[in-house]
């Protein structure tokens, strides 16, 4: 059986094609403002990698904030369920999955079969999301890819409130004026977002093993702060941003 999952996120569209429980194709495309077009491009690329045609796919399921805007299917699951199924497929021993995406973060407690036991999603504030790190990277005049490794070079831990992305940027400006070294500021940013995420995750209840997915999971500075705050070593899958799409592809087998 061949299934596909399409995750229409705020920043990117991800597609995973699954054949007999093996990933045969995947693609990621910036979402832009035309989700339909981005979905078609992502799907085309994933099909190309899999070496199959769209007609070969038995079932497609969508997930993500823009899931209603893609043209391929009316079947969908929430990001929460998709994440739970995806992580359970990869790591059956994971009981808590933290998904930090571009605009939203969520923590989900999962049972051994990939069922959602409880979950928590970030409040309106962007301080616990990838967009926050992007904004802070701009303020530090580094790229999103650079800010994580930069933060690992910190010498001093500085506390930042980081309750709100706008106010956090103002705090950063103060630190700039105090001539704080860049790695220390980068560390403060990641420590702030980690505090925010862990606070949220505690609402859902933390149960080991803990995995982190979503694009921000690729940021080593953030993962280092999370490991410290959670007093454990979190699991980061190889392609953390694809776990939601993978979960949707698994859901397609069940619908």
């Amino acid at each position: 059986m061949i299934t596909a999952g399409i995750d229409c996120g705020a920043k990117t569209v991800k597609v995973v094609i699954l054949k007999d429980d093996k990933v045969i194709g995947k693609a990621i495309i910036p979402a832009g403002i035309d989700t339909k077009k981005a979905s078609e491009e992502a799907f085309e690329e994933a099909l190309k990698e899999a070496g199959i045609k769209k007609e070969d796919i038995d079932k497609i399921v969508a997930t993500g904030a823009g899931r209603a805007d893609q043209p391929f299917t009316k079947d969908s699951v929430t990001e929460v369920s998709a994440d739970a199924k995806g992580i359970n497929f990869l790591y059956p021993n994971v009981h808590t999955v933290i998904d930090v995406g571009a605009e939203e973060s969520r923590a989900i407690r999962v049972d051994g079969k990939g069922m959602v036991m409880d979950f928590a999603v970030n409040e309106k504030c962007a301080a616990g999301s990838g967009a926050f790190i992007e904004a802070m990277a701009r303020a530090l005049e580094v790229t999103v890819e650079e800010i994580g490794p930069l933060s690992l070079q910190y010498k001093q831990e500085i506390a930042m409130n980081a309750q709100c992305a706008v106010f956090a940027e103002s705090e950063l400006v103060t630190l700039v004026h105090q001539q704080t070294p860049k790695p220390d500021m980068a560390r403060a940013i990641h420590a702030g977002i980690s505090d925010r995420i862990v606070s949220m995750a505690r609402r859902a209840g933390l149960e080991p093993d803990i995995a982190v997915i979503g694009g921000v999971a690729k940021n080593p500075g953030f993962i280092d702060c999370l490991n410290k705050d959670l007093n454990t070593k979190v699991i980061v899958p190889d392609d953390p941003e694809f776990v939601g799409a993978l979960g949707a592809a698994i859901a397609a087998k069940e619908i």
Binding site: A159, N161, F167, S170, E171, T174, L175, S199, M200, R202
Partner: protein, 380 residues
């Protein structure tokens, strides 16, 4: 320098408490959540009350326990317990103040095991004719609870001794505050904060010894050279924010110093004494009913306003900084009335909202602008 002692005790509060326990194995230590706790009864039962305050650091442990719209202070307080920083406490108690800090108390009670816990229903309607009798009856119950727990009988003699130790502390703190009336105050606002808050964490006998030396040997001749600084008052909810006070008092463009305050971490805590009488419990009840009130209890008439305006006048204040913990509704309801009343007296005000961490950069810009407006009145 005696004045510097207080800062050491403030910063080493846990070490002091643990050391106290070692030196006084017959005493117990109880953490308190507000300043309405009747210390006299606790001292008489050989129980040292230590006020639980926050640490002004980011934390991620209280989210499941405290509502998002509750104040940062109550969150910071609970975080201390959940992080095990008060693991030496034998008990906890609260005399009812506000809903937010009561949540800290009840969550602490649920999640952190202690031997003794006590909720004292301190009346809110202090201006009621029945408040004193009500509180006295509650003090009787608290007295019995302490006696049962500690095994120490609270005698009249023990109560008299405790009242005197605490009254002496209050007298000495008032004397130290009187020095701040001088044109060239011998103490900064930050030093005053350390002085008062450390008294909430130490045995008052230890604190009194330092205070006596300070008042007799240091303050009379201490010259900080701040006679030309702008004289400020700071008032509002709990404030032991070192970084904020230090920021204001180190501004160089228009230098300023806090010369008086109204906080539960400041003058409101120690302002009035127990007036001794044969009925000791009634005397104690009257002290807590008559003290400068917390806004949760300051109704229907706002008695605190008149008290604060008098302080501003006596300490010759030029400007007032009104601080409030974010989401502290009782204080927030007072702010517009206080601002209007102060402005009517010719005292300009600056309103700032505190969070667990102070955004020093933003606050500094506003404070500098405020001080500029105060000094420009002299210039033009």
């Amino acid at each position: 320098m005696y004045i510097e002692e207080f800062k050491k005790y403030y910063e080493k509060r846990h070490e002091y408490a643990k050391d106290f326990k070692k030196k006084h194995p017959d005493w117990k230590i109880v953490g308190t959540f507000c300043t309405y706790y009747p210390e006299e009864l606790m001292y008489a039962a050989k129980v040292l009350p230590v006020r639980i305050l926050g640490s002004h650091e980011p934390q991620n442990v209280t989210e499941p326990h405290i509502f998002g719209m509750f104040c940062p202070f109550c969150r910071d307080v609970l975080a201390q317990g959940l992080q095990g920083r008060y693991d030496y406490l034998d008990g906890i108690m609260i005399a009812q103040s506000c809903l937010h800090v009561r949540q800290s108390y009840t969550s602490w009670d649920l999640h952190i095991p202690v031997d003794f816990r006590y909720y004292l229903p301190m009346p809110h309607h202090l201006q009621s004719a029945r408040a004193k009798d009500f509180l006295k009856a509650e003090l009787e119950k608290f007295k019995k609870a302490l006696e049962n727990w500690t095994g120490n009988k609270i005698t009249d003699e023990a109560l008299d001794e405790a009242i005197e130790i605490l009254n002496e502390n209050r007298r000495l703190l008032r004397q130290a505050y009187d020095f701040r009336k001088k044109d060239n105050p011998p103490m900064t606002g930050l030093e005053a904060m350390y002085m008062v808050v450390s008294s909430q964490m130490m045995h008052k006998k230890d604190h009194n010894e330092i205070l006596k030396n300070l008042i007799e040997k240091e303050l009379p001749n201490r010259d900080l050279g701040i006679g030309d600084h702008i004289r400020l008052m700071v008032l509002g909810s709990e404030n032991d924010d070192v970084e904020f006070l230090d920021m204001v008092e180190t501004i160089t463009s228009n230098p300023a110093k806090f010369v008086i305050d109204d906080h539960c971490t400041g003058s409101r805590y120690f302002w009035n004494q127990v007036e001794p009488k044969a009925d000791r419990l009634m005397a104690i009840a009257e002290r807590y009913i008559n003290r400068p009130p917390c806004p949760t209890k300051d109704w229907p008439n706002r008695l605190r306003l008149e008290h604060d305006l008098n302080l501003a006048k006596e300490w010759n204040v030029q400007g007032a900084v009104l601080l409030q913990q974010k989401f502290c509704d009782p204080h927030e309801c007072d702010i517009p009335i206080f601002q209007r009343a102060f402005e009517e007296q010719g005292i300009k005000t600056l309103f700032l909202e505190l969070d667990v961490l102070v955004p020093v950069g933003q606050f500094k810009i506003r404070t500098e602008a405020f001080l500029e407006t105060l000094s420009s009145e002299d210039l033009f």
